[in-house]
Symmetry: C2
Subunit: 154 residues, 2 copies
């Protein structure tokens, strides 16, 4: 895993959450996911393909943080993860990946994005099956936690 991949995904996530929802998430230090299992209630996933590498990205939200994000954005939110929240998490995943794609493109690393998929269900976990190591970046706020994870074939 090339370390230069990490910052674009992290800064894109912080940027999207700050711009769209005025939420300042505090990232922990990015690390390799080994035996760790990050669980959440709603996750956005997206596949990435280039001539050099293939991979996948996920952003997993605790339910409370996903609901709080919608509340900050539109002033109100449902009581639990519903179709609106699922759409929002799909959109955030698309924007974060798109932002990282632009930053990586400036470094000469190009990839195409597949379309987002959103998983909902209490306490699910995500397992990236690319051949390379999995980078995980936990993010916290008073309103709950999120996890960015990604992995590329090397």
């Amino acid at each position: 895993m090339n370390v230069e991949f990490i910052n674009p995904f992290l800064s894109s996530m912080l940027n999207v959450m700050s711009t769209m929802a005025q939420m300042e998430l505090i990232p922990e230090k990015p690390r390799l996911k080994k035996n760790e299992v990050a669980m959440g209630d709603v996750s956005g996933l997206i596949g990435m393909v280039s001539d050099q590498a293939k991979g996948s990205l996920s952003i997993t939200f605790e339910g409370a943080l996903a609901l709080a994000t919608m509340k900050k954005m539109v002033g109100e939110a449902p009581d639990e993860v519903n179709e609106e929240i699922i759409d929002l998490i799909g959109e955030i995943t698309n924007m974060v990946t798109g932002g990282a794609k632009r930053m990586l493109s400036e470094k000469g690393i190009e990839f195409d994005m597949a379309t987002p998929i959103v998983v909902s269900g209490p306490n699910h976990s995500i397992h990236h099956k690319a051949k390379g190591p999995i980078v995980i970046i936990p993010l916290k706020s008073e309103l709950g936690r999120a996890y960015i994870e990604f992995s590329f074939d090397e």
Copy 2:
């Protein structure tokens, strides 16, 4: 959604399950997923990218069917979804998508596959966020149910 996409994914799934695990799944009629929610315990997901279209595929298994598949393949299986089962579902997803890719290539439809992602967690559901309709194919067996779902931007 072009109907010619459906058969390659379905026949590839039946073929993989029959070849790898001697399991004959019985497909229901493919249909468009509208308000339906298909829930399962372990899902393999993969993104697809081509010049013409982008999309995503998922194969969702009820836990009992995933465990039974491993038991048929290797003679034994754990009592619940664990890392081995997660690897198996990732591998099945890769093989099903790869088989469909070959069949579609013969029709002149080419796409690249991202790397698989596996989701585990009781009763989760998958929401494809491509712009086109979502095709769902329920499959049943005495040992449990599975669902193939896919969608492409049109």
